[in-house]
Symmetry: C2
């Protein structure tokens, strides 16, 4: 570092930002390689790709650990009160990233990387055979690694503290206690609603749309996502086994998958991923290498994908505009289907054992189940060996269904095999935030669905840009909700939304 390039005043925020550009840029390359791996990579290229990602991770780590970054942060922290709120956010997040890059011993990082790779394979093998016991030791070790990681970063002491650390990693400002309070209230309202819906004689007919040509599906979902506001000048959509969204707002790579007999799957997957993409595209351009241009957290991200997928794209207004177009694209396939039948198929609800197949109502119960088990695991109230039995009991209680084996129970998700604890709650936090944003937007524009009925999503997009996207990482998750809606994060809007949307259909 040369002295003249550094001053502990407003100018040095620029200096810090400039230093953050390099690790950020290298991270965007890793993201592109990850996308390419899912979308393009020929099978024989897997080993090369692993080597590329590893070399890139090393380069990115070196860039993120640049001592000049640490020096800038330390000097700015000393005079933090002189900084603007923007500047403080930049420094706060730079500190978090810098500590993560520098405080974890290289030996630990290697050990963790090697173990989660083994744990993934142990999980995949155990799932295949529905044999939880074979996977349990790898899972225990994953928990141990997370506890040690938390301790390195100053959150040592207890398993509960480590779990709080993990939750905060995914949703800044949240803790296990805060999540528990929200989920308890949600559960109290949701379980009876699902019971009522399950008891209803109304059932959505599965698989009513068959033989829908993939090219037509592509054209239709392209029209939908463009209308929503996804900018194809800064993004594209391709095909992968599991839909996902990668990249930054300058170049978003989202994916979906096509099944001629299930056009609603590709469509809603694409709408969901486009919601993620629209968020990234709306983050302040030119600031993407600092906290000012980055997403507020996992829950915030999920709120954007879920709001478009559920509140918007399952609404009557949305289909008032798109139903004629959908029928035009698939005239024969929709001929015998009434508008009400189609709308019910779009809003089908049925409790099941598998999270990724769940509808938007019961999905939350899957998450609550996982959160409660994670919390007990880390607080010591539950041993890994006791997980399958606890899972099955919770499944019976929450979903009214018990897995026949661990493959459709505790072994169904990949997350824990990657030591991604504290990740699941974000999905449900996202659902709560989405509903809360929805009613806040409706309060400002009660006839919002009339916009949709004209195929006009611009008011909503503008509102989300102003309230959420433009905020980058200025707020933590509860702070963002407060900023955008003027109220504390609460499960009440989600309960209200599910009641209003589904009671008329099913109850």
């Amino acid at each position: 570092m040369t002295n003249d390039s550094f001053k502990a005043n407003s100018a040095s925020i620029d200096g810090l930002s400039a230093l953050l550009k390099r690790p950020h840029t290298l991270a965007t390359i890793a993201e592109l390689l990850g996308w390419d791996e899912q979308v393009n990579l020929p099978p024989g290229g897997a080993e090369l790709r692993a080597g590329q990602l590893s070399a890139l991770a090393e380069a990115a780590h070196a860039a993120a650990s640049d001592p000049r970054i640490g020096e800038h942060i330390a000097a700015l922290e000393k005079d933090a009160e002189k900084l603007s709120p923007d500047g403080r956010a930049v420094v706060r997040w730079a500190r978090r990233d810098y500590d993560r890059a520098t405080k974890l011993p290289a030996e630990f990082v290697r050990e963790k990387a090697a173990h989660v790779s083994r744990a993934y394979h142990a999980w995949a093998a155990a799932r295949e055979k529905a044999d939880f016991a074979a996977y349990a030791p790898a899972l225990e070790k994953n928990m141990d690694l997370v506890r040690r990681e938390a301790a390195y970063l100053g959150h040592g002491g207890s398993g509960a503290e480590a779990y709080d650390y993990m939750i905060d990693q995914h949703d800044p400002g949240m803790s296990a206690a805060a999540v528990e309070k929200l989920f308890d209230e949600l559960k109290a309202g949701l379980v009876p609603l699902v019971r009522r819906m399950t008891a209803s004689p109304v059932k959505a007919r599965a698989g009513i749309l068959r033989g829908c040509a993939v090219e037509k599906q592509k054209a239709f979902l392209r029209e939908v996502t463009e209308r929503m506001g996804f900018d194809y000048n800064h993004g594209r959509i391709d095909v992968s086994l599991h839909p996902f969204c990668a990249g930054t707002g300058d170049d978003i790579r989202m994916t979906t998958r096509y099944d001629a007999d299930n056009p609603l799957d590709s469509l809603f997957s694409a709408i969901h991923e486009a919601g993620h993409g629209i968020y990234e595209q709306g983050l302040p351009a030119g600031r993407r290498h600092t906290a000012l241009g980055q997403a507020a957290g996992m829950g915030a991200h999920e709120s954007q994908s879920r709001l478009w997928e559920n509140q918007v794209a399952r609404s009557r207004g949305f289909w008032r505009y798109f139903e004629p177009r959908f029928r035009e694209a698939f005239p024969e396939q929709t001929r015998g289907i009434s508008p009400d039948e189609l709308y019910l198929a779009i809003n089908a609800v049925k409790p099941g054992l598998i999270r990724v197949d769940a509808d938007e109502v019961t999905y939350n119960l899957h998450i609550i189940l996982r959160f409660e088990l994670e919390k007990k695991l880390f607080s010591g109230g539950l041993a890994v060996a006791g997980l399958p039995r606890a899972w099955n009991a919770a499944s019976r209680e929450l979903l009214g269904l018990e897995p026949a084996n661990d493959r459709e129970g505790v072994l169904q998700d990949v997350h824990w095999s990657g030591a991604s604890f504290g990740y699941f709650p974000s999905y449900c936090i996202g659902n709560m935030v989405a509903a809360q944003l929805w009613y806040a937007a409706l309060a400002e524009r009660p006839a919002l669905e009339n916009d949709f009925a004209r195929g006009d999503f611009s008011w909503l997009l503008g509102w989300l840009r102003a309230k959420v996207h433009s905020q980058g990482r200025l707020h933590d998750t509860p702070g963002l909700v407060r900023h955008a809606t003027g109220a504390e994060l609460s499960p009440k809007p989600l309960l209200r939304y599910l009641e209003e949307r589904y009671s008329p259909l099913y109850c």
Copy 2:
């Protein structure tokens, strides 16, 4: 560097190889990003991509300049006579790459990068307006940069020396004098052949194949390239504006382009690129980060693409197998076309002004023209300002055609705008090497075309694997030809081949 990791004996070749892995891997990432830029990148992502490539270039340069590499090389060079031929090749090429990474001042590298970017835009603008004078200063500066680069790397002194350096960069072991000798002999045989063909009453009918569905073209060229031996487990083919081949043998990314009214263009482009890809796939796996697993040079590379594209895929034997399949794919489009007409369309020859549109006969004249001008430019026999007039005169002499303006003359190619002097000769060297390899293979297996007529390319592939691919960079260009054919590089086989293939058709 720790002392125990380094010994100046055979073991340290392994040490050096290990150090070379990182810069190589980072270079493969840059290659993938370049492919993605041509194939996938949404327009709005261009600036991000430029930043990614720049960050990656910096990381790759740092890895390639690792002082431990230099120390290994220096120690190994001291005991070079104790090394195996493989070891010597590894060290020789590591020296070349290390010097390139460390001897060019950072300031010069930046200046060159910035200027070639400006020169590209100057060229594109000048080409648009057919205004050579507007581009001339940028071209002069490019020549100056190349002279300075050559001087930094020990080839200073004269422009002629700089041009030799550039030729050797593309084709190791070659020089302007060596190229001139080959090209003079080639020209003496080629010009009369082209005159005879042009005077012939036989003309290939252009555009006889119309309305060939792109999906059918895709399936057909996939079958052809797979039969040739391209391994789609380690590669794929996509679409780009200009066909190219990128990647390493583990993951080859080739492209073509489709025109319903010109299926032979996409087919022969794909065959050409598959020839490049097959070479990369045949280089020793696991050695790709050293000279032992890298292509011998540009001419060698081009020899592989041209041999498959021309000697193989324009042969009677090849079409004996594929013509029925081609007609089956395009029954209506081929109905009125006789086998002879089809074969003539595949082997159409017509002198034209534009290199990239040229057939395999006249293509060589385009290259000779460029080489002669480059040589004069660097030896001082021609000023940049005199280029257009010299170009037009050479075009009249060699092709019998004069450009109406500089857009279809001296401004048609991008190469010089990127300071890529000494690149053009490789194309023609590739053609000479391809023909020489062809007759060497035929000498061992005279009935080679009978293999093709059965759709069997395995003998030829095996021969190329043994004679060329397995050799990596063990030899320079003349050395590789000597190794593979037992003879000195010569234009005679190419003249013989063109005579044998085209005289019966046209003369």
